[in-house]
Structure formats: C-alpha cells, structure tokens
C-alpha cells in the first residue's frame, strides 16, 4: 500500500479528515522549505503538497505565481525540490509528500529519470496540473511502477464520463477544484461543492480532497463534513510572501496559521 493510501485508511479509521497544506518549494528561499515542512507536520498536516516552481503557472492566481517567481529567482529546479523531499524524509518516514506542478519540468528531466529520483527521495504522489488523463498514460504507468500515486484534478465542469476516466487512472486521492477559476480565487460555494462531491462519490471510491477556495478555518470546517481532505494553498503562501524578508519566522507563522485550520476541522466533526 502506498503511503498516501495508508494515511487515508488511518484517518478513516479514526474518523478524521486530512489537512493538506500547499507551499511552493524554495519560496522565499530554498533554505527554509525542509524546516517549513516539519513545522507543518507539527501543526497537524497529514499530507504535504509541495509546489514545483514553473515559469508559466497558467492555473495559478497571482499569489502562487509570485511564489514561483521568488523560488525561480533562486534557480530552484525540480532536482532541488526532490532533494528537499529527501532531506525531509531523513527525519520523517510517515507523512506523505505530493509534488504539484506543471508538466514541462518533468518532460525536461524525462519521465523515467524523474520517477526514479522521486521514488528514491520518498515522494509519494505527483500532480501535474496540465496533464489530463488523455495524455497521461505514460507518466502514470512510469510512476505506478515505482509505487508513486498520480493525483488528478476534477472540476465543476467535469462530467460523469470524465469522472470515470479520471477515476480509472488516479490513485491516492482525487483533488476536487472547488470553483471555476485559478488558485486563490474566493467564491467557495459549499452547497455546490457538496452536490458535486456526491456525484463523484457515486463513481469513485478514492478519497476526495477539496482545494482552491479555502481561505479561512471556517471554510475548512465546512468542508471537513463533506470531504476526506481539505487543501489550503494561497492563504499560506500569502503568509510566506508577507514574511519573505525574514524567512526564519516563516515556519512558526505557517505552523500557527495551520493549527487554526486543524482546530476548526476537529471542532467541526
């Protein structure tokens, strides 16, 4: 069983939902990322989503775009990101790590080389935003051979046929994009999300995470009653941005913010 599957199994047994923070690797500088990952685990993260910086983040709003730009100003590469996971794994063997980014850096490294080094470093899942299942068979099987899950997005625009197709290829969990828009947009409609999750659950048995519109702990609390996982991204990345001049403060600040999300989720159920 993959580390992600085991994680969700454990949570289900305990009747809890996963809290999944997203930060961009190397933002605001490469030195803080590993410590930040540990701090997030300390604050209640069940899975960590690590953004791989890309020059043209088409699905991201301004907050995460700027995070990519800050990391790229330090020339953070996919190799560097994998290396950060490796260092994180030296003292954390259980928290799953998912790399989230765009396809081109993976193409540049080559699927085999990427899958090999990701597996060796202890990466558990890969989510490439611009790789739909239609084009994804080769990467999915290359990752699967190394026991790495491929996480796919589903969106409000995904119909039943697409949900089936994605369910057939995805493993680990499915990431439901709660709104039509880019990361960081703010118009979470819990009722609409709830209806769509029900439709997805009628087709897929994979755990369902919800992300893209989660701004406040109350959003996370609301989602905790309908989803298996809550993904918090732009809200955290904004804190990183606000403290970019003092990177040493970032793990503490993010830890504090994340704890509030954790508490809200615990109280909700």
């Amino acid at each position: 069983m993959s580390r992600i599957a085991a994680c969700f199994l454990g949570l289900a047994e305990a009747g809890r939902q996963a809290l999944i923070p997203f930060v961009t690797a190397g933002d605001p500088e490469p030195g803080v990322t590993v410590e930040l990952m540990h701090a997030m685990v300390g604050a209640g993260a069940d899975i960590i989503e690590l953004g791989v910086p890309f020059s043209d983040p088409m699905a991201d709003g301004p907050v995460i775009q700027r995070a990519s730009e800050r990391a790229l100003a330090h020339n953070v590469t996919l190799h560097d990101v994998i290396d950060m996971v490796k260092r994180f794994r030296q003292s954390n063997a259980q928290t799953p790590v998912v790399l989230m980014g765009y396809l081109n850096p993976v193409e540049a490294m080559g699927y085999e080389a990427f899958a090999d080094s990701a597996a060796k470093a202890g990466v558990d899942g890969v989510l490439t935003v611009d790789l739909p299942p239609e084009e994804g068979a080769e990467l999915v099987s290359t990752l699967k051979e190394r026991n790495i899950d491929t996480i796919f997005l589903l969106a409000p625009t995904s119909n039943a046929e697409r949900i089936k197709r994605i369910d057939a290829m995805a493993s680990g969990f499915i990431y439901y994009v709660s709104l039509k828009g880019v990361t960081g947009a703010s118009n979470l409609d819990i009722e609409a999300v709830s209806a769509k999750l029900a439709e997805i659950r009628s087709i897929s048995r994979l755990p369902l995470g919800v992300g893209f519109g989660v701004k406040a702990p109350t959003d996370a609390a609301n989602l905790a009653s309908i989803a298996d996982a809550v993904i918090v991204g732009s809200t955290l990345v904004k804190i990183v941005e606000e403290n970019a001049a003092e990177p040493a403060k970032i793990p503490g600040m993010i830890g504090e913010a994340l704890s509030a999300f954790r508490r809200a989720m615990e109280n909700a159920v």
Binding site: S55, A59, G61, L103, N104, E107, A155, S158, K180
Partner: protein, 414 residues
C-alpha cells in the same frame, strides 16, 4: 514523452499523410495534443465538437466566405515584386498581400472564423491574447461587428512597443488588459487569457491568435488561415502557369506560415521555408527561434519545440518584432521540421530592419517587422534560384504599427 520522435516520414509519399493530421486527439506525430487543466477540458471539448460540426456545415462555411470577400477584402493579390527581384538578381519574388486585408494583416482570417463560431455556440464574451496587437485588433474588429464583448490581454512590454494598436483596440470598444507577470510579453498574455477562460468558462470563447494552444486550436486556426495558400496556389498557376519553387513566411506561432504552406504540402517540389526571429543572433541566446535552437516540451496546451532551460523553465525571448516574440511554435511546424517537409531558418533584428527599408523603398510596400524577417531570408536565398523560378513570400502584415519601433532604432523621435 517523445515516443515516436525518431519515426520520421522518410520519403515523399509519406508527406501526403501529413495532410490528414492531426489525428483525432490533436497529435502531429509526437507533437500537439491537449495539455490543459481539468476545468478547461469541458469547454475545449465543446469547442472541438462545435468546430467538427460547423466545418462540415456548408451554410457556416459560406458565411465565412462571404465575410472573407466583403469584410476582409479577399482574395488578396499575389503581387510580382519586379524591381526588388531584379535587384536581387535571382528568383522572381511574389508577395501574397495579406497586408491588404482589413486591419492590415492575415490575423483577421482567423478571427472572422472563430468569432462566427463563437456566435453559433452562443458565447457572448470573447477573450484574446496579443503580441504585436494585430491579433488583438483583428479580434476587437470582429467583436465590434458582431456585437460581442471583447477583452484583450497584452504584455505591458508589448503595450509600450505597440501603442497604436492598443489605441485602435480601445477605439473598437475592446478592453485591453496589461499583463505584468513573467516577461510581460506574448507568452504571459496567453497565460493570463487562459486564467480568464478558466474563470469564465460558461459564457466566454477564447480566440487564440496562432496555430498553438490545445487541440483543436492548431488545426482550426490553420484551416481558417489556409485560404492564404489556396488563393496563392491558384493565383500562381493563373498568373505564371506553374507552381512556385519556394514559399517563405515568418514564424511566430506560425499561423501565416501554416496557412500558406498547408495547401502546398502535397506539392513535393515546392520548398516550404519558415523564418524565425534570430533577435541579436542565434549564437547570443537572445532570440525567439525555438525550431532553430530549442527542444521539445509542453507549454500552452501542446507539445512542441520550446525555448527553455535544462530544467524546463521557459526562457525569455528577444525580437525587435513583438509578434514573433514567443518561446514556442505551433506543433504542426514542429512535425513538418522533424519530417523534413519544411525547413526553418532565422533572420536577425538587423537583417529584418534592412529588409523593411529595402522593400519599402523599392516596392512602395511597407511591411510589418514580423514580415520583414521572411523578406530578409527571401533576399538571402533569391540569388540561388534561376530567374524563371518563383518564390512566394507571405506579406503577412503592413508596417504602419511598427514605425515607432523603426524610428526608435534609428534614434529618431516622432
């Protein structure tokens, strides 16, 4: 990954297969395809189905033809540049005069087609990206005519270079949004347009301005632009009784080139030559020539040649012409290159500016700076051909929009 990158179409008869591309998933060999975020897959599919339907609808196609003749001013002439040919001392050079189209470039062929499609699909809001502003103007123009809301994304660097076109778009009622992210040029405008689309999928139609983007855009834009080549082929036969020896066109994303080339693909003796922007020179790294100096990767919805770092980050491009300042290229060109059916050369800023002046003075035709790249290369190769050989250059646009750039290059204030 590039599974069949080595499987090249190796002999001439294989070239005929090229006419059947892309396959149903939008692939040109290993290139093209549909690499988009999940939210966009539904609207892209809706577009693909609509396009498949209407391209076989004779009433719809007749509507486009009527607009081509009465709104755009087609057919555009095939003009013999006699004095220039004489000076160059080789092939007879002919210009396919897309500069004479309404709004001054080939871009309108595509926007007429896509806007009519948008209307049939019931979309009320149009978005577009633009580099030189020609596609933006062509989009704003058809939107004004059809009464559609129009938002154009343009890099703030390009807004500075192409003020005239920015003002034209605003006069036409379009909203021009300055894009401040990344390199602030065409690729960033495309990113921003994608972000708009993902946010407004229900009522919005994205008119991409070149043969790039996710399937079906590369094929659809080529089909709308192929009127250039169909006319040129018939005109060449009519005016000279034979086919040209070579076609030369500038390549930004590659739409004017693809439109000219496509109807000649099965004419194996006609050389197809695309000309990329070499900027300060390919060897300087400051250029916009992915087919000459890039490698395959995935950007903006398709797999193609890109300018990128070893790590797969997209590199900033450099060209005197905003319309060629793009780090990718249409996937069909990538495949034509690998197959050997087309060749791709490059011209520097300086060569393009020289050709701009030469053609303006010799023929009384002021070409766009994009177009001037094709002219610069035609000038280079013309002497290698017999005097009775014909070279058709795609005169993709007129140069009025560029006079500030040309003046600035010469230290002149206007």
């Amino acid at each position: 990954m590039l599974k069949n990158a080595v499987s090249k179409a190796s002999n001439n008869s294989d070239f005929d297969e090229l006419l059947n591309l892309p396959d149903e998933h939008g692939h040109f060999g290993p290139y093209g395809g549909c690499f988009a975020a999940e939210t966009l897959m539904a609207p892209i599919d809706e577009l693909r189905q609509a396009y498949e339907h209407y391209r076989n609808d004779s009433k719809f196609m007749a509507e486009i033809d009527a607009d081509f003749s009465q709104f755009v001013g087609r057919p555009s002439p095939l003009y013999h540049a006699e004095r220039w040919s004489e000076n160059l001392g080789g092939a007879q050079i002919y210009f396919k005069r897309e500069d004479l189209n309404h709004t001054g470039a080939h871009k309108i062929n595509n926007t007429v087609g896509q806007a009519l499609l948008a209307k049939r699909m019931g979309k009320t809001r149009i978005i577009a990206e633009t580099g030189a502003g020609q596609h933006g103007v062509a989009t704003a123009t058809v939107c004004a005519r059809l009464g559609l809301e129009c938002v154009v994304y343009m890099g703030s660097e390009d807004i500075k270079r192409q003020m005239i076109n920015v003002f034209r778009m605003r006069l036409l009622g379009a909203e021009v949004v300055a894009v401040e992210s990344g390199s602030k040029t065409l690729k960033d405008a495309l990113n921003e347009a994608m972000r708009d689309w993902v946010t407004n999928v229900d009522d919005t139609f994205y008119i991409i301005g070149t043969v790039a983007g996710p399937h079906p855009y590369p094929a659809m834009v080529r089909d709308f632009q192929a009127i250039i080549g169909r006319e040129a082929r018939a005109q060449a036969l009519d005016q000279t009784g034979k086919l040209p020896a070579a076609l030369v066109a500038c390549v930004g994303g590659g739409s004017n080139a693809m439109g000219l080339f496509y109807p000649f693909i099965a004419d194996h003796d006609v050389e197809l030559i695309g000309v990329e922007a070499a900027g300060d020179g390919i060897e300087t790294g400051r250029h916009a020539a992915p087919l000459n100096a890039g490698r395959p990767g995935v950007l903006h919805g398709n797999r193609t040649y890109l300018m990128e770092t070893d790590g797969g980050q997209i590199i900033e491009t450099h060209s005197v012409s905003a319309g060629l300042d793009y780090p990718g290229v249409g996937p069909e060109h990538a495949w034509l290159k690998d197959c050997g059916r087309a060749q791709y050369a490059a011209a520097t800023d300086t060569e393009a500016l020289d050709a701009f002046h030469e053609v303006t003075r010799t023929e009384g035709i002021m070409p766009a700076l994009e177009t001037s790249h094709a002219l610069a290369y035609a000038k280079k190769i013309a002497p290698d051909y017999d005097k009775d050989a014909m070279i058709i250059v795609s005169l993709s646009g007129r140069g009025d929009k560029d006079i500030h750039t040309v003046a600035a290059h010469e230290g002149i204030e206007i």
